[in-house]
């Protein structure tokens, strides 16, 4: 197997040619798209554009075929049992909202419990709050240990309260920690809970295998996986998807409508109201096809190399407060310069063309637990090079120098 050639990989992203001066380390927010994805979108619009599941004509049938092929591509990639288990949504947020709303009333009712964790992204907190409040469902929260990892003892104790749903992120978008997902799912299942995994960051790290994970739901966004904005995936086991009340109703998700009574179409259509993001689905499939040209293990190793180099470099800069652990880390490092606000640090990095995100990263409960106003987050992708790491480190040194002068 040839060694991983980061320059060859990087060349497939026109973005870097257009922005040569920049070091992009905001990958956990969104990733860049290889040209293959951009072409797939253009090609759809310029050659195959038509609405799906509607037309009596070949153009529409062809668009439908492409759209359903995209579903199959996703299905195979995540090793779902069948394409019906793959629902296209507008993103991870939409998918989590569909799950939370869809379980209310039918599955969850007054007095039932939902178990979340302290480090969830708002998208895996607020939809539950929004709908649980209306239906009297109670939310429990798994706390963290002193080194910012999930407290597994507390998790087990909370499972004794018999939550009907356990929902947690595969990988923390702030800390980059890979959760002990197998153990967590096994315990949740033993406790009889429906399991929901927020895979927004998880899917980026490694191809997730639905049949092996055996969770009931798994969600992610296309734009974080080299794909377009406005598309995401709600994976669910068929039986559970059947139980979800659709959050959106509209055309084609319906079997029969009258003003008296409406029956829904079968899966996956039942949960895809309205004209879907056809180009988005094709773009996501193109991203997956493209990604599969590479060896996953090599990409992971490359990212781990970057991570190691980064941690090494950080250890010699004075006053750096690192929140992320280097082990079981998917390539995200949250840090602060002691006694400085992260916004100042990020702004000084920005001046040096280092793109990072600062703030609370849509995870306010985590930061109130950490008792910090936020953090600077450096998140790495396979297209980042050792040079990117070193430029970031130098810029960070410079920032520390200016701040502490």
């Amino acid at each position: 197997m040839p060694v991983f050639d980061v320059q060859q990989f990087r060349q497939q992203f026109s973005f870097f040619q257009h922005n040569p001066g920049w070091v992009y380390l905001d990958n956990a927010a969104t990733m860049h798209k290889p040209d293959a994805v951009v072409s797939a979108i253009s090609q759809f619009y310029q050659q195959h554009n038509s609405n799906v599941h509607r037309g009596a004509h070949q153009l529409s049938q062809q668009a439908t075929r492409l759209f359903e092929q995209a579903r199959t591509t996703v299905c195979r990639y995540i090793n779902a049992k069948s394409s019906e288990e793959v629902i296209f949504t507008s993103g991870a947020t939409a998918a989590l909202n569909q799950i939370a709303f869809g379980l209310m009333h039918t599955v969850l009712g007054a007095g039932d419990r939902v178990l979340l964790t302290q480090l969830e992204h708002h998208a895996n907190i607020v939809p539950w709050q929004l709908h649980c409040q209306r239906y009297g469902v109670i939310i429990d929260v798994v706390p963290l240990t002193a080194d910012n990892q999930l407290d597994m003892t507390a998790y087990q104790q909370l499972l004794e309260r018999k939550p009907k749903v356990v929902s947690f992120s595969h990988i923390s978008n702030v800390l980059g920690h890979i959760q002990p997902i197998d153990a967590m799912l096994a315990l949740a299942k033993k406790a009889g809970a429906i399991t929901v995994v927020d895979g927004a960051q998880g899917v980026v790290y490694k191809q997730p295998d639905m049949q092996q994970l055996d969770c009931d739901f798994y969600v992610f966004s296309g734009h974080k996986l080299y794909g377009p904005t406005g598309i995401g995936i709600l994976y669910g086991k068929k039986d559970w998807l059947e139980k979800l009340t659709p959050i959106f109703a509209g055309g084609e998700m319906i079997e029969q409508v009258s003003f008296v009574n409406t029956t829904f179409n079968k899966l996956p259509f039942k949960l895809e109201a309205g004209t879907p993001n056809i180009a988005g689905a094709l773009g996501l499939a193109a991203a997956i096809d493209w990604l599969q040209l590479y060896n996953t293990e090599q990409l992971i190793q490359h990212k781990l190399l970057l991570l190691k180099e980064f941690y090494n470099g950080l250890s010699v800069i004075k006053g750096i407060d690192i929140l992320s652990l280097p082990v079981h880390n998917a390539g995200i490092v949250a840090l602060n310069v002691s006694n400085e606000h992260p916004a100042d640090v990020a702004e000084l990095l920005n001046q040096q063309n280092i793109a990072v995100r600062s703030g609370q990263h849509c995870a306010m409960p985590l930061f109130s637990y950490l008792a910090r106003p936020g953090a600077v987050r450096c998140s790495f992708a396979a297209y980042n090079s050792l040079d990117d790491v070193n430029r970031c480190l130098l810029a960070l040194e410079q920032a520390v120098e200016i701040l502490t002068a």
């Binding site: 599941h53 037309g55 070949q58 049938q61 439908t64 179409n265 079968k266």
Partner: protein, 146 residues
């Protein structure tokens, strides 16, 4: 009308289609002739009486409504079908599908590859995944019988 009668009439219609019409379709010179034959095929099948068209017999995913009735002879493990559709072209295509599967055993039905067969008959383009045509839905409903 009883199911037995419908089954018998369908069966003999299908024999006739198989023997006389299938070749006409593959040999049709232009699309117009092909469609004329297709529509005649549909007419050969006995219409299902309105009150037998129960909702559970509806083939979901058809733009035009279509109904499938099924009978499984357990003694010799053979499957027989009756169908009707509002749309004549679809009915013709579905009739061809029935020709291919009527009288099959459960094992044969399970193995049956509609795509392949339709390809041989140059009818593959009609088996689109579009919900419109409903042929795939019909094929699924047929296979689900075994």
């Amino acid at each position: 009308m009883k199911l037995e009668q419908l089954l018998a009439e369908t069966r003999s219609a299908l024999v006739q289609i198989n023997e006389q019409d299938l070749s006409k379709i593959t040999q049709a010179k232009d699309w117009q002739s092909k469609y004329r034959v297709l529509m005649q095929l549909g007419k050969k099948l006995p219409p299902v009486p309105e009150k037998m068209k129960q909702p559970e017999l509806l083939v979901k995913g058809c733009e035009s409504r279509a109904w499938l009735l099924h009978y499984h002879n357990k003694t010799d493990d053979k499957h027989y079908f009756v169908l009707d559709s509002e749309a004549r072209i679809v009915k013709g295509l579905m009739a061809i599908m029935l020709c291919l599967v009527n009288g099959m055993s459960s094992a044969e039905l399970a193995k049956f590859d509609l795509n392949h067969k339709f390809d041989q008959l140059n009818l593959k383009p009609y088996l689109s995944q579009s919900r419109g045509s409903g042929l795939t839905a019909m094929a699924e409903k047929i296979k689900a019988c075994c």
